[in-house]
Every structure is written in C-alpha cells, then in structure tokens.
Symmetry: C2
Subunit: 207 residues, 2 copies
C-alpha cells in the first residue's frame, strides 16, 4: 500500500481544465484518459466555468456566437475531428453554449476517480445526442447509467461546499491566466491552450 | 514546355492566406514551401489584410491586444514553436500589430514566384529583428537583399492596380468566411484555420 501510494505521488501530473459547454474540451475528454495513461501522466480533471472569465473581458456569450464566422468554422472543424477520432457525428445542443453549471457541480461532487467517465457521458449527451445538460434529468441519467446515486449527487450540487469549490476553481483558472478551454497546466505552471496542444502538454509534463 | 505546363496545371493547389502582422502566419511561412513541396501540393501565397475583417466584427486592433491574457499566452506559445522549428528567438516589433499594408502590396507587386522568399524576409525582419515593416527602408532592404529592384517595386505599391488587387484579395478573404490568419483554403472550398491545421489542409488538398 505504502509503495503503491509512493508511486502515485511521484507520478507526473497535468491539469486538464475544461468547461462542459466547450466543444473542443469534448475532444480532449474523449481521448484524454487513454493518451495520458500511455504517456505515464496523471491527468487531473478540473471542470470550471468559462462564463465568468468571458464576462470579465466583455463577452456575454461564447465567441462562437459573438463572431459567427468563427462559429461556422468551428462546427466544420469539429466535424473533421469527430470523424478522425471515430466519435459520433455532431448533434448540436438546442442551446449553445450550454449552461454547464449543474454538470460542473456534479462532476466536483463525484470526486476525481469517477470524473472522467461522467465527463464523457455528459459531453456525449450534449454533443452526440443534442440534449440540454442544464436539465436535471440529463445529468441524473448520466449518473444513473454509471452506477452513481443520482439523487444524492444532485443534492450535493446544491450544498455550499460544492458551490464554493466550483467558484474557487473558476477563480483559480482566471488567476492562472486561463481564457479558453481546454487548457492544460503542468506542475511548473506551463500553460497550453486547446485540444491541439494536448500532446505537447503531455510531453512537457514528462520532461 | 506544353508538357511542363500541363503538369503544373494538374497539380493540386492550396491557398495560403496570410497577413504580414500575423505571428502564426510567420510559422507557416517559415516551413510552408518545403512542406508543400514534399506533399506534392502547390501552395498559393495570398497576402491580405486582417484589419478590415477585424474592424467589421468590432475589433479595432488584434485580439492579442484586446484580450491581454490571450496575448501573453500567444507570445509563450510562439516561443515554443520557434524553438521547435529552429527559428530565432522572438524579438517582438515595437509596434504590434504591425501595419502590414506596404509589405502586402509589395508582395503582390512581386508576383508569385518571388513571394515566398520575400514573405519570409519580411517576417524575419519583423519577428526576429523587431523591425517596423511599415517603414519603406525595411521593405526596401528585404527587396534589395533578394535581388529585386526595390525602387521599382515600391513605386508599384502606389499604383491603383496593386492597391485594387490587395483590396480585392481582402474582400475575397471576407467572402470566404476567413476571420484569422493563417487560413488555408483547398480547391473545393474546404477551409482550415491556423498554422496547426497546415498538415491537415495539405492532406485534404491531396485527397
């Protein structure tokens, strides 16, 4: 036990900051756990909210909505990535960007071991099934399918401890200079923005 | 001659849209000609102005200036790319973004055979030497070093034909939905944004 704990604590880590409304974070969530494992890196899944960060710089919604040419391109670019990764064709959620508050709180309530699978399930509901992840039923469905107690977990999302935890994570993201998602931050503070930088971030973490 | 012309016209092409003020376009300009040649793709170098496109969406300057967190990150990200490509360390120009009007007109005045080397020389002056590419002396220096008649080329940049040509290219970029640089557009209209997408764009062009 002690030996095994020692190995875990000595493992290099990489923080994976993501927002449940972020299309490109979906790509990393789909492939991140396997890629990090293959690289010998412990990926720390850190959901946060981009909304307050966008608002602080004057954006009331996603740049993909504010700048339609970027939004149109993003959808096409995402299609190409989904095909390359063998993921289902995009079924955009009716509301974009999604309100990711409930899902983010639920992810923090679950704890880190359960977070990757739950994260993938939420992204799948949102971008492969076009569902509204702000709905309790959608989050409850993902929890139940993964064997969690949905009612208990949803009850925890209303507790101050979880609300404060998410607020703190979002404040830390802002403090780190994070301005989009996904963002990867190595133990030495080196920052990489975008699913495109994931391999580079893994390599940096292992240096 | 006819056979040689036939080969050229049958070659697959990829349009490389760039602004001389764009840091990430610098990366593609540095590696683009060799990579395209290796892929058997004819790269068409198409300078344009991002300024009017940014202004049309309400930006009076570069997003790297408007959003300082993005600007800070971009400089660090660029550093890592420059090191990986073996390019000189960044020496940021005193004025960022540079006024790229004169350099873009000169590139169009030169014609396509001379454009890649001239483009690389301008980016080198701007980002490796920190010089102001809006200065006639800087553009003249790049022209002279490459064996061109600097006075004659600069005189052409003041002619209506060249001014109209650049305006037309910028309008075409906007019409295509281009919102940043570098952008790659394949013969079938497929668009790829960013130096990160260059390999994907080359592969698409060859399909």
């Amino acid at each position: 036990m002690a030996g095994s704990r020692g190995m875990v604590s000595a493992m290099v880590t990489l923080d994976f900051w993501y927002d449940f409304a972020s299309t490109y974070s979906y790509l990393t969530a789909a492939r991140g756990e396997a890629a990090a494992k293959a690289a010998g890196v412990e990926l720390r899944w850190r959901p946060f909210l981009l909304g307050p960060i966008f608002r602080a710089q004057g954006w009331e919604t996603s740049p993909f909505v504010l700048y339609p040419a970027r939004g149109t391109y993003m959808l096409r670019d995402l299609d190409r990535h989904l095909a390359a990764l063998g993921l289902p064709e995009l079924k955009p959620p009716q509301q974009f960007p999604s309100n990711s508050l409930l899902a983010a709180r639920a992810a923090l309530a679950l704890g880190k071991a359960a977070r990757p699978a739950f994260t993938r399930a939420i992204y799948h509901a949102e971008f492969a099934e076009g569902r509204d992840i702000a709905e309790r039923a959608v989050v409850a469905g993902a929890l139940t399918a993964l064997g969690h107690d949905a009612e208990a977990t949803l009850a925890r999302t209303a507790e101050p401890a979880i609300k404060d935890k998410l607020r703190g994570e979002t404040e830390e993201a802002a403090r780190l200079g994070i301005f989009g998602a996904p963002t990867f931050v190595a133990a030495d503070g080196e920052m990489f923005w975008g699913n495109d930088r994931f391999e580079q971030a893994l390599a940096w973490a292992r240096r």
